[in-house]
């Protein structure tokens, strides 16, 4: 088997705080891999390191046989990503956001036009393609982010809580598309989610991270039998405990609140 993502002894510290603590795992080519954990467990920090946005404090990452630290551009050519938090330009229209992405990823014009139309229709935004994103609802923005993530067909797709805030219809619609992309084009999928039913249904293998450390790994079946539970949700709770995690409001949250006051 070909290994698409290999992580060894990866650590990320912010001052005294250890966000990711010496984790190792690997994802095979063409695999659908779920990375689960409570809020603040280190999921997003890990994804940021995998996708060249953040430099690891320690450890090694290999993505599609390249290192994000030493050969960031080779790594960037290998993946697509749907971020957990907004990353659209809300002063641009839906179509312009897609177009911008397509040009950055050097998708030839005719393919670009074709796919943009197809994807915007898929997420039911084609009618509103010329509306500014700032006028969109939360769900519409989310759908547009997802459509944009699918625009160039990468070898690896990172999905950081892609379906957060979407209704069940849209969620299943989108997961069907992802599974299809995985089957037809052999795209490796690395995703995080808080919906355990999604992970149970879709993931081939799962790693559970808590307080920066991987506490369990295996297929959904293996995790359930290890904990003697009937659902992944119960297995997850048994691995990570029931206490509620606190996450500090970060700078972005605060900025967003301020901007709301500032605007108009």
């Amino acid at each position: 088997m070909n290994i698409m993502i290999r992580v060894e002894n990866l650590t990320k510290k912010f001052g005294d705080f250890i966000a990711v603590n010496n984790i190792s795992f690997s994802v095979d080519k063409g695999e659908i891999f779920a990375f689960l954990g409570p809020n603040g467990a280190g999921k997003t920090t890990t994804i940021k390191m995998l996708t060249t946005l953040l430099k690891p404090s320690n450890g090694e990452i290999i993505i599609n046989s390249h290192s994000p630290v030493a050969e960031p551009d080779d790594v960037r050519r290998s993946f697509g990503i749907v971020f957990q938090d907004p990353s659209l330009d809300d002063r641009l229209t839906a179509y312009e956001n897609m177009e911008f992405h397509g040009v950055l990823y050097k998708i030839p014009k005719d393919i670009r036009r074709f796919r943009i139309e197809q994807l915007l229709k898929f997420v039911e935004l084609w009618e509103r393609k010329n509306n500014l994103v700032e006028d969109f609802s939360g769900g519409m923005k989310r759908r547009l982010e997802i459509a944009r993530g699918f625009l160039h067909h990468p070898k690896i797709l990172f999905l950081d809580e892609p379906t957060l805030g979407l209704d069940p219809q849209t969620r299943s619609h989108i997961w069907d598309y992802i599974k299809n992309l995985n089957k037809e084009e052999g795209v490796t999928v690395f995703f995080t989610t808080h919906y355990m039913d999604e992970a149970e249904k879709i993931a081939e293998r799962i790693a559970i991270i808590d307080y920066g450390k991987i506490v369990a790994r295996g297929t959904p079946e293996e995790l359930k039998s290890k904990t003697n539970t009937n659902s992944l949700e119960e297995a997850f709770l048994s691995f990570t405990g029931r206490s509620i995690r606190e996450q500090e409001a970060n700078g972005v949250e605060r900025m967003r609140m301020r901007r709301k006051l500032f605007k108009r």
Binding site: K55, V103, Y105, R256, R259
Partner: protein
């Protein structure tokens, strides 16, 4: 090339879609032209300087370009806060290209701003010295815009949020403007101020504009062009280096 173009286009679209910004950014230059132009005009005339509006207008054009360019550069902080920067950072595109695209976009916007202010100054009584030199005036406007957009980008790459913005306005942008010869002639100044004015890149921009628009350069146009060009190139490289170091 298409990557630089799309980044450039984005800056323009964002600018022209923000009506409040378009109108708001004209308030200050108009106020300066009217209040200072007519307020100091009589004294300037009596002191033998001639028509103050003729002297002031190129300075105010430079000012409006300075403010707009720095602001365009600083916009990276907004992009960082609202997430769009991530989209650009994960793209398989060289950081230098991103820097160039953004900077050209910001500089174009700022140059257009300068042209609008120049047109407004015609209503206040400004008269360009010679039509033939006008295109060279535009070159200087664009150079000033490039230089300060690159500077804004470089600074913004080091800042996490808008908290530092006030600091930059008060300790960098305002001094750059007031100590550039935009408002007063650089002849016969106290030594300390003269030294500052001589190392201030905006002085060369203002001088180039005055030289081409009304024929009264303090340094000389070749020197102005050289200083602005060299500093712009250096800032572009520093800016793209700092930009490539951004972590989110």
């Amino acid at each position: 090339m298409s990557i630089i173009y799309i980044l450039w286009l984005r800056q323009l679209k964002r600018h022209f879609r923000s009506k409040a910004r378009l109108i708001g950014s004209l308030g200050q230059p108009i106020l300066f032209l009217l209040a200072l132009g007519f307020g100091f005009g009589p004294i300037y005339q009596r002191a033998g300087g001639g028509d103050y509006i003729q002297f002031l207008a190129p300075g105010i054009v430079a000012m409006s370009i300075l403010f707009m360019s720095i602001f365009s550069g600083i916009e990276i902080i907004w992009d960082r806060q609202f997430g769009f920067l991530k989209e650009t950072l994960v793209a398989p595109v060289s950081r230098f290209q991103i820097m160039i695209g953004r900077t050209l976009g910001g500089a174009t916007v700022a140059t257009l701003q300068g042209i609008i202010v120049l047109l407004i100054s015609l209503f206040v009584g400004f008269r360009p010295g010679s039509i033939i030199m006008l295109p060279f005036g535009l070159v200087f406007m664009f150079l000033i815009a490039l230089l300060f957009t690159a500077l804004g980008t470089a600074i913004a790459s080091m800042l996490e949020d808008m908290h530092g913005f006030q600091l930059i306005m008060n300790f960098l942008v305002m001094p750059l403007f007031f100590l550039s010869g935009a408002l007063f002639p650089l002849q016969g100044l106290p030594r300390a101020i003269k030294i500052v004015a001589n190392i201030n890149p905006l002085s060369y921009g203002v001088d180039g504009l005055r030289g081409t628009l009304v024929n009264g350069a303090h340094f000389n146009l070749g020197l102005d062009f050289l200083v602005l060009g060299v500093i712009t190139i250096i800032l572009l490289f520093i800016g793209s280096y700092l930009f490539s170091k951004i972590q989110i």
